[in-house]
């Protein structure tokens, strides 16, 4: 038996990172900011996108890529708010989206007619943190029906995100959730994190989020 050893030292993410860089270049060429929404299942990603499309859909052409393990239910829900820009990725068991899937999705979205791209990742707080999709920034969602210690339990996704949304704030009178603790945990994990407080289901407290996206689009377009 003649065994030879080949030294590789190759990052497992290398190919994904190359594709993510290509996605970033394509988006940049068309001045399209892209936000990758990440959360555990049930935090309200789809509802947040529904409200966003409802409120900013007339102002901007918004492309949406949804990732689901099975079904394209989220894409079907969001398609009610926009005519042609929703692309569903059914991952068939995979727990996150990768840059290859975004590359394919972008082939079906006319970026020259798109102002903003929103990506709804698979509901999972672990794996999506490790995969660069070529987005402008990750946005991590968590909600008042979850533990306020999510930022310290899942630090990587909070560290990798520039923005965090605490959703379902309308339920605060009814749940045992300490907002100050949640904010403190989030800041402890990532001091630069910008926080939004929303109630996507009721549509209340959403203005800062809409304003943030509006600014992102106008800045990208150099207006």
């Amino acid at each position: 038996m003649t065994v030879r050893t080949i030294d590789l030292r190759e990052s497992v993410m290398a190919r994904n990172d190359e594709l993510a860089a290509e996605v970033r270049t394509r988006l940049s060429r068309h001045s399209v900011p892209a936000f990758n929404l990440v959360s555990s299942p049930g935090s309200g990603k789809t509802v947040l996108l529904e409200r966003t499309l409802e409120n900013l859909g007339d102002k901007f052409s918004i492309g949406v890529v949804t990732g689901d393990v099975q079904t394209q239910n989220d894409a079907d829900r969001l398609a009610q708010y926009t005519d042609k820009l929703v692309h569903a990725v059914v991952t068939g068991g995979a727990c996150h989206l990768d840059a290859r899937q975004i590359t394919t999705a972008l082939n079906e979205i006319d970026l020259s007619k798109t102002d903003l791209l929103l990506i709804e990742n698979v509901g999972n707080l672990i794996c999506p943190a490790s995969w660069d999709l070529g987005e402008t920034a990750k946005v991590v969602l968590f909600s008042t029906t979850e533990g306020e210690d999510k930022p310290v339990k899942y630090p990587k996704v909070f560290r990798e995100s520039k923005y965090a949304v605490l959703n379902k704030v309308d339920l605060l009178p009814h749940v045992n959730f300490d907002v100050d603790k949640a904010v403190s945990y989030a800041r402890q994990t990532n001091p630069d994190l910008r926080l939004f407080f929303t109630s996507a289901l009721t549509g209340l407290w959403m203005d800062e989020w809409y304003s943030f996206l509006t600014t992102a689009v106008t800045e990208a377009q150099g207006k």
């Binding site: 990052s11 497992v12 727990c95």
Partner: protein
């Protein structure tokens, strides 16, 4: 699982599809902050390396600090006979 499949793709790009059956061991470095559960990765690699075109290559995972997720090396047995 997608990490294990990606490892398989990296090996194929390095040695070629025909040579994958001659791979006897693969060394990986996995950071404790890489977002990868070691036992799950071991299980998934076992599934990938136990299926053709692989012929039961062994996975040797080294835990390292930080975010690293690398294929460090592979061992190829050039004398291993084709089926």
């Amino acid at each position: 699982m997608s990490v294990a499949v990606e490892v398989g793709r990296i090996l194929e790009s390095r040695v070629g599809l025909q040579q994958l059956q001659k791979v006897v061991a693969v060394g990986l470095e996995v950071g404790d902050q890489a977002g990868v559960e070691f036992e799950s990765l071991e299980f998934c690699l076992e599934a990938v390396f136990g299926s053709p075109p692989f012929r039961n290559a062994g996975a040797e995972i080294e835990r390292v600090p930080g975010n690293a997720l690398r294929v460090a090396y592979l061992e190829v047995d050039d004398d291993r006979q084709d089926d």
